[in-house]
Symmetry: C2
Subunit: 370 residues, 2 copies
Amino acid sequence: MKNNNQTPIKIKEGKIIEFLESKKHEINYLIETYLPRKVSEEWMEFIFGKPRYRYSLESTQNTLINPIWDFLDRGGKRWRPVLFLLIYEALGGKKEKFPKDLLIIPELVHNGTIMVDDIEDEGELRRGKPTLHKLFGEDVAINAGNFIYFFPLLAIQKNRDKLSEKQINKIYDIYVQEMVNLSLGQGTDIYWHKGKAKEIDESEYLQMCAYKTGCLARMSAKIAAICASANNETISKVGKIAEALGVAFQIQDDILDIDLKDEARNNFGKSFGNDIKEGKRTLMVIYTSQKANEKDKERLAEILDKEENNEKEIVEAIKILEKYGSLDYARKKAREIVEASWKEAEPLLMENGSKELLKEFVNYLIERQV
Amino acid sequence: MKNNNQTPIKIKEGKIIEFLESKKHEINYLIETYLPRKVSEEWMEFIFGKPRYRYSLESTQNTLINPIWDFLDRGGKRWRPVLFLLIYEALGGKKEKFPKDLLIIPELVHNGTIMVDDIEDEGELRRGKPTLHKLFGEDVAINAGNFIYFFPLLAIQKNRDKLSEKQINKIYDIYVQEMVNLSLGQGTDIYWHKGKAKEIDESEYLQMCAYKTGCLARMSAKIAAICASANNETISKVGKIAEALGVAFQIQDDILDIDLKDEARNNFGKSFGNDIKEGKRTLMVIYTSQKANEKDKERLAEILDKEENNEKEIVEAIKILEKYGSLDYARKKAREIVEASWKEAEPLLMENGSKELLKEFVNYLIERQV
């Protein structure tokens, strides 16, 4: 469990960092067993079944495997599968019954959604490299992204020995429901980006986050609970912590995008003030719009709605957001949401070490600087 | 069952046309019960569950409902659900156990794939109107398309009383597998469009079609067979007819795109010679490349690989394809594929009228002029 990796930026010390790092390798390895880096006839039949005519291996390598690995190799925290693992353990799931392969589901789907989001948002950079569609073309990127919306579910079929028919159906049900909800969250976010709805209230914003960012975390937690044979009430409550975590994670992401004090920026591989450029209505923007004087409010909206922004404008917008204390407000809000859900679910978790780790994990996610 | 609709173009007479027309209304109505044209709080909760905070109805109306109905209202044959229905009946499925709502699955998913395909192919027109992303933006179109990759599956959860746990399980498995296969077919098609693999043989081409176009037909047929409590062998065989049908349908589509004798062209709402512009390697192109002299072969490849084509070049390419009889070859091939699968599955079908209708349906699909 020792972490031999050099991390370029200072992060909070603690068991959870070490745990995340060690699991990262395990998850990458697992993904590689389902999606090897080099296509073969054998793998094609394993995944797609026996062909009636003949597969084109070359196109599979170039349109599915290469783009997806290009993306996965850029890193990422792999925290959704870790959440899965921790919840399974905290609910007393048995080690020998653990359908480990299912860990690839939340991770791959998450990566698929970012690939597709980057096209929708016309993103230029992702994790320090040009976005996937800039490298491979939009057609390849959309198709590869959609492929990993379904492909990881094959792990369910291949782990039938560890799951009952009923569990499998529940997993599928949850998966479908969360993907449906995800599209709702994403659609809402897109609509707001376009500046079409200028008056958004906080509760609508939080709902959008709950669905845009909370869905995959909630899916991961709920599937873990189903695997651990939890009852419906427990499934729902751990789902709620995860959702809250997703919301808090999103708020923290939005804060990091504009936090001028962020020392880690240069290592972050993400360009600065993206959300301002995109005209995103974040919690900070909504809060500021309520608190600011008419002049500041109008100027902020003006910068957000402009097609193109220069750096000066971005800094100006951030200064307005800071002036009304919206960053602190957002930080406080994120913490409150997570704490409320944690309190509800805590009594259901077992005192076997994983509860403590889960708590540390929750804190890490909402306080992270990267 | 009388067809009161005026059809603008002459089509082959027969019971199947009437049947298709009458079912079209039924299917549209069914879709509307799941996806009403006007958003409401009630519907939101029916589909997305109770919100933790508050839904934005306005964004749902504008990013999901409006674009999807704009697309659905353009028409389409709705033949995949009809295939579902005919197979269910031909396999002796009981009327009172029929999970009718599942008919929306192949139809909506099919429409989702075209919306997304049009973005991937940079299509300009679809069914006589600008492609969806041209009207609503790429972001909205991708998201709406992805939404209907999952949304219709909610019909499964809502029809639990008509299906056993085992049937539901199988339906989900099939769905996932076919969506995975679809991405493989689509990826291959994209790769070839880009002119990256110039030597494609017929068996690779047919496999691509089996996955790109055959998957949704196969999914529809297999799910119908599962609903009718068919055994695995039967499920597989009706899947094969449907796959063959999908392949033949694709070949016929490719023929219609370049058939200069097509009188229905002006009513078709599809621009002419699209496949040539896109550089698509159709069965006709593959056949011609094998048969043609060096000069014709090179000229054909040159036109296909050009970024932009004028009408003169398109007609020139078609003349080369005609010169070597590739259109007749493709027609013959499509028929052979369907006939071979039909022979295999025929003994499994019941003599209750639906078999005859299914046969007529098969003929219609591969001989259609629109």
